[in-house]
Each structure stands twice: as C-alpha cells, then as structure tokens.
Symmetry: C2
Subunit: 310 residues, 2 copies
C-alpha cells in the first residue's frame, strides 16, 4: 500500500478524491489516499497552493510532490521543498488552451468585435481582413501549451513565430530564443500570444519597449500569467493605437478588481481565468502515471527544473 | 487578341479592371478587356449579377461565361444562357471562409459571448465547455468551402460529420448523403454549419423537423445562403432553447431589414455578408486560368452543372 497525502483545499478534495481513486485503480496502483497521513508516512504528496501546506521538511520519505496546477511559481521557491516536483500538464487542458487561443486569435484577426458589438440593425461591413497567410502571430512560450496552440494556428495558415528563453526547434514554427531573439520574434508581428511561465526573467516581458515592435494595431492575447505584462505600458499602447486590442485571461490580482481600467477599456476583453480548465478525470490520470513511473524507477513526467523555475 | 466583355457593375469595374489585366498579363494572354464589345465579338464574358446583362442569346461566339461570384443562383436558371458557365472559387475566399467558420464554431463551442458581453467588472466563470473531441459538428455541404472548413475543424479535434446531396468521400470527415443521411448527420450534433448552394432541394433544409434533431442547445452558423433556413422555425427553436445560438451571415433579403427579429434576438449574431470576401487579385487569377484552359482545349475549372444548379 502506497500512502499518498492530499494537500489542497476542501473544495479540491471534493473535486479530486473520487477521480484520483478511479485513476489509481485504473493504473492498478494500491494506494491509500488521505488528507491525514503523518508526514513521515507519506510516499507522495498531491499538492495545490489552495491548501495550507507550507513546510515540506517533515516529509522525509516523500518521493515526489505532484502539483495539481500547471503553474508552480507559488511553490518552486519554497526552501523546505527538497523533493522532486512535477507540474500538471493535463492533455485536456492543453486542448482547451489551444481552443481558447485559436478562438481569440481568429476573433482579433477577423475584427469580429465590430459585428459582435454592433447588433443594432445597421448593416455595415468592416474592413476586409487579411488572410491568415498575411498575418504573422508570435507565440511567447514554446512549452506544451505554446507548442500546441502555435501548431494549430500554423495549420490554419498563419505564419507562426515562437520565442523561448532557451533554444527550441518546433517544425512548422519559426523559432527564436533569448534576449537577442525577442526583438526579431516581435518585429512587425500581427498578434502576440503569451504562454510563458511566471519567472523573474519573464516578468513584464511585454513592456513599453517590446510593445513598440509589432505592426501597428497588432493584438495581444494573454492566457499565461498576469506578471508577463506591464499593465500601464499595455494601456498606453492601446491608447495610442499601437496595440489594437487585447484579450486577457490572467492578472496580477485575481479576481480582477471591479474598478480596474481593463474592465472599462473598450479595446480590452477580460475573461475570468477560463482559458484552460483542468479536467479532474484527465489530470488524475497524469498523477497516477507519475506514481506508476516513480514506483517503476522511470523518470517523472513534467519534472520541474528548480533552477529555471518551471 | 481575345475579346473579353466585362458585364458587372461600375463599382466592380473599378475593383477588377486593373487586377484582371494584371492576371491576363501574368498568364501571357493577349486580351482586350472592355465593357463595350459587340455581342458577336465577345469570346468570353466576365459576369456578375450586379450588372445589367440579362440576355445572353446575342453572344453567339462566346466560349464561356465566367462568374465573379461563387453563388450562381441568379444566373443558372437564365434560359438565354446556353454557353458554359463557371463559378468563382477564389482560393483566398476558401481560406477566408474557413477562418470565419472556425472562429464562429469556436466562439459558440467555448461559450465566449458570456464573456464578450459581460465586461461589467464582475468576475464570473461560466460553465466548463466540453473539449472539441466531445462536441461533434455537422457541415451541411461538402463543396470546396465545406470541405476546407470541415477539415480545419477536424484538425482542431472536433468530430466532423459532413452531408451532401450526392455521395462524397472526404478523409477525416464522417460523410452522409441524400434525404436518408440527413437525419444521421444532424442527430445529436453540437453545431451545424451551412455551406450548401441555394437550390430548390436545399431551400429550408433547416426547418422545424431538422432543427429538432441536434443536441439541445446546439448552435447554427450560416455563411452559405439565406434560403437554407426556415427563419420562423429557427426563431422558435431559439426560443425553446433547442438551438442555443446562431450566427448568420446571409439572409433572404440583404441588407437584413432594420426591424428584422434577428437583429434584436440576443441569441442571434448577424454579420453583414462578410464571411468570405472575394479578393480581386486572387479571383482574377482564376478567371485568367479558365481562359487559358479554354483556349488550350482543357476543361474549365468550377464548371456549373446546369441540371444540379451549381
């Protein structure tokens, strides 16, 4: 019997308990899943920052901490965490994120808001949009989520540029990397999609300088992390028309406060952190697979590099 | 020198004159393009219903009528037209239509209107949408436009069903045909996209009976022809909730009259016939290629079958 401690909120327990046990059974793992294992007796921790666990040092026999969340910025800097940490990469979340990104990119690309907001009985055609082939899109971030969304956009005909901190090769995406590559990735682009992790290097990566590089009227879609954008620089770029519109799903403070200027800016669409839902059934399969791998001596999926921070 | 008569509106002449001559030069065709060739001297007619030409009988040496429009319902029944007739299938129009269809399908699939209309400072997540894999989409019409849009949706993960009057096979699309196949194509589907030609057989293909077949709350996207929908049946299905939303680009009367119930129905999005623009440069290449083919004795592209009506 393998003891797995569930360290997340009451609400998460209600969501995940049955789904985790079903996934363990399906993977033929004999697991005692509980919220009250003694620290020395827990072989694994299923973790989310929604719970109260802060000190990992008593968990001396813990083989891995398995995050229920894709973003690990709230745990990766925890000095008491010496155990291996795995992020959540839920296949249905990757799919959902891709759908959200393609939907928002096409909406901005086609200028659909003109019609969605104009149900006023006046028949008036807008500008003819470019075809996808004439409107390059830049993905900042080429992890699982950025790659999936970028490849979907490329399959629809968009020229797709991708940028990551360290070099990556993705067939069908024109790849750039590092400080030096960021300018080339952004210069003259028609739209920017942010799918980077939140680290000290990526904070405010969209700022007054980088927002000046795209084609005039380019759009921004941020389903990544709120810290990636210098909010006042984006509001200025929207005001000047350098950026034509933005759809933002994540913010420095969530829920986005009621009086925040993003809510009332007609060029900004706020979505309430719904770009990608983690689906319990699918996510629990990933947790079970990682326990199976660990027990079999195989490498964990989605292991976090503590130095890089993701 | 080949005489080509341009028979469309003044506005069309301004749009197409230079683009046609450029396409003819590129195809190395020596052509005298004019609006005033005598009927007996015209070898080809470039045609749109926007002009005044109604009687094709004096054009005794005309080898083909080349339509600038994709839809030919306003000319195909003309008894004086005995010359071969070719529809316009502009590659950039196929691309634009695909983009429009994917944008609208994803918007309905993800329930985006909840967020687009709700920029009111209230942070409220809607229902978790299904992933594409769990939401089948039915394409009514598997011509160039229906195939391109259907394959794009399939590449994003949607199970795609296609229906056409006569049997078709398209890899990646579950194909149905004829009266008998229509019910199977629609039963339990999550969304319907209409890309059929306007013929007596397709008139009101979406009616009270067929609208009862999809899953409750399914959506309708019509960038095809206004005659495909029984408007009062659609309004009833929207009222009952059987159909959850509709995005309509084409109507029996265009512009859609200001007082039409579609404008004020919150479940309906009206777009003003913008799903697919014909791009002059791209379309003129098709006209030039058809003249080249005709002169070389090769079969015309997109030849209309007068019996079928498209």
């Amino acid at each position: 019997m393998i003891n797995v401690l569930f360290a997340a909120s009451d609400a998460d327990w209600r969501t995940y308990e049955a789904a985790l046990n079903a996934a363990f059974a399906k993977a033929r793992l004999a697991i005692d899943l509980s919220r009250s294992h003694a620290p020395k007796e827990a072989s694994y921790i299923v973790y989310a920052p929604s719970g109260s666990l802060q000190d990992f040092s008593p968990f001396t026999d813990c083989k891995a901490v398995l995050s229920l969340w894709a973003g690990v910025e709230r745990i990766v800097g925890n000095q008491t965490l010496t155990q291996p940490l795995a992020r959540m990469v839920d296949p249905s979340m990757v799919q959902g994120m891709m759908e959200y990104v393609v939907a928002q990119v096409l909406r901005h690309h086609l200028g659909m808001d003109r019609y969605l907001r104009g149900q006023d009985g006046v028949w008036q055609q807008g500008e003819m949009p470019p075809v996808a082939q004439d409107n390059p899109i830049t993905m900042l971030g080429l992890g699982e989520l950025g790659r999936a969304a970028g490849l979907a956009l490329a399959s629809l005909g968009f020229p797709v540029r991708g940028w990551s901190r360290s070099p990556r090769k993705v067939a069908g995406i024109d790849c750039y990397h590092g400080e030096a590559g960021l300018g080339d990735a952004l210069k003259g682009t028609g739209g920017i999609v942010l799918l980077l992790p939140s680290t000290t290097e990526t904070e405010n990566i969209l700022n007054a300088r980088s927002l000046a590089l795209p084609a005039k009227g380019a759009f921004v879609v941020n389903p990544g992390r709120g810290t990636l954008i210098d909010d006042s620089a984006l509001l200025s770029a929207l005001k000047s028309g350098q950026i034509g519109g933005a759809t933002l799903d994540v913010f420095r403070t969530e829920p986005l406060p009621e009086g925040h200027p993003y809510w009332s800016n007609p060029k900004v669409t706020v979505t309430p952190h719904i770009a990608a839902f983690t689906r319990p059934g699918s996510a629990c399969g990933v947790i079970a697979e990682n326990i199976r791998r660990s027990e079999a001596g195989e490498p964990l999926l989605y292991l976090v590099d503590r130095g890089r921070g993701y």
